[in-house]
Amino acid sequence: MASFQIESLTKRYGRVIALNNVTLSLDAADFLTVVGPSGAGKTTLLRLLDLLEKPSSGSILIDGEDAQDMNNCLRLRREIGIVFQHNLMLNTSVSANVVYPLKIRGEKSDLSGKVSRALERVGLAGYEKRRAITLSGGEVQRVSLAQALIYSPKILLLDEPTANLDPRNSSIIESIVTQVNREDAVTIILSTHNVAQAERFASKVLILRSGEVADYGNASKMFSNPSSFLATFTEMWNVYRGKALPIGDLSLIDLGDNVSVKSSTIKKGDVTTFINPDEISLTLRPVENSGRNIFEGHIVEIVDLGERVQLEVDCGKKFTVRITKTVFKDMRINLESRVYLSFKASAVVVN
């Protein structure tokens, strides 16, 4: 539980401006995701917030205290946990790694009990005696999370914690982070280039582009009406360029490859459209509904996302669809299966 006030934060490395004039404010127990492509300044922002680096200008207040004041720095940093994208382990046992933050804080009581509970929380019970540098990538990320959680930080920073991880490890980390946010009211700042991840958890979203704030605000609002930048920088979102032609109260958008979609937004000329993969329904037979966009296609890719499954369906254009695992199993579909996609005209967002 801690609030953040960040005012005109700027970081330069020589001539390169890694982060330019970022202002945002977070309340206690907020969940902010920082979204942006590689090189957008996500890591720089998190390193500044963890007080690992000093900003070139601007200020960071944590619960109203100036974080750049040398007298506050160590104390405030000890309230913050961070999980880096690439975490290194001390060359010793897992338990010595996890207990390390408590030891340097001079804590002495029930250390082994706390270590066991922290490891249990991240699903690594019994890993105490393993050598930390022999762990797999997913295990290292989870031990790092245990290291951060063991001292009950008020703020948890996560820098693309699930990049390069398999779906199982990703979903373990995601569920712990959500739990910590909801149950322990820890303020979370998570950077990701995975928009779906941002959409699932965040109460607030900050979109960075080349070190600048491209958008910042309430998550639900931002995802219901995304900016074209948000829509285009990832391919997951069924983003297409096309030509729109108004017909009655709809637009017909020609996406090329003989695929046209109906949108309830009336526009004319060159447009960028996208369709949220969750708004597309998947059936084995065509749906009888003239109001909807309906396409026939075959499955070309299946990705296990843990509780959900993401499918690529080739209908002339490739569409990304996400369904629950139960539905996926019930439908008994596989690669090359023929399926029908349908989505409302209102699901086609046009910019």
Binding site: L74, R77, F84, N87, L88, L90, I104, R105
Partner: protein, 232 residues
């Protein structure tokens, strides 16, 4: 060939019969090199660590000087220490020339650069990610330094091994500042020189074999420490 065999037999015989002079020489050798390496380590590790962990003007120059000193011929060190300690030298008043203390001083000057140089490279090769991690977990500057040293522990033991090797085997410095005085400043290496000059080749060889043996025992102990450090 016969001489080598004879030397080995004599070495064995000297050791088992507890030859008084041999053991005196042996203990003085261990005392001089042991104290020199201990002092070199006490001075060298903190200097090496702070050089590796800090950025300052002339850092590269400093490291180059240290690296040069790592290879400096012991006779040159002996000569300089001799000039400082001789009756007309600036420290002549201390009357240290031809004492074990003078030998220790010379060997510290040989050992310290080795410890500093290897420490700089061992600490410098601990990845920056470890530093970030330790700081982010809330370590103070002292805690950070101690943790980094612990991460570099294998390299630090290497530094001690190399310093021991250099001091045990060198003859140039100890012979100049110690004078190879029988019962007082004679160590294994200077004794080998002396016996060779007298033509007692098998006795010289016996001393050489004993020198190798203690070098092996020390290295064996340190290497075991190093590997247990790796496994920790």
């Amino acid at each position: 060939m016969d001489q080598i065999l004879e030397g080995l037999v004599q070495a064995f015989w000297l050791l088992v019969t507890l030859n008084h002079e041999l053991y005196l020489i042996l203990f003085l050798t261990l005392r001089v090199s042991g104290i020199a390496v201990a002092l070199g380590t006490i001075v060298g590790i903190p200097i090496g660590a702070s050089v590796a962990l800090r950025d300052f003007m002339g850092k590269k120059l400093f490291i180059s000087i240290v690296n040069t000193m790592m290879g400096v011929p012991p006779v040159v060190v002996g000569l300089v220490v001799y000039l400082f300690l001789s009756a007309s030298g600036p420290l002549g008043i201390l009357r240290l020339l031809y004492t074990p203390t003078a030998m220790i001083i010379a060997q510290v000057i040989i050992a310290a650069p080795i410890v500093i140089g290897v420490t700089v490279s061992a600490v410098g090769s601990v990845e920056n990610g470890i530093r970030d991690k330790v700081i982010s977990l809330g370590a103070t500057k002292t805690q950070l330094t101690l943790t980094i040293l612990q991460e570099a522990r294998v390299g630090l033991v290497t530094a001690v091994i190399l310093a021991f090797g250099a001091t045990l085997s060198e003859v140039g410095a100890v012979i100049i500042v110690g004078g190879d005085i029988r019962w007082v400043t004679r160590v294994l290496t200077t004794a080998i020189v002396y016996e060779t000059e007298l033509g007692n080749f098998s006795f010289a060889l016996a001393l050489g074999a004993i020198l190798l043996l203690i070098a092996f025992v020390i290295n064996w102990v340190l290497t075991r420490m190093q590997w247990s450090g790796l496994r920790r």
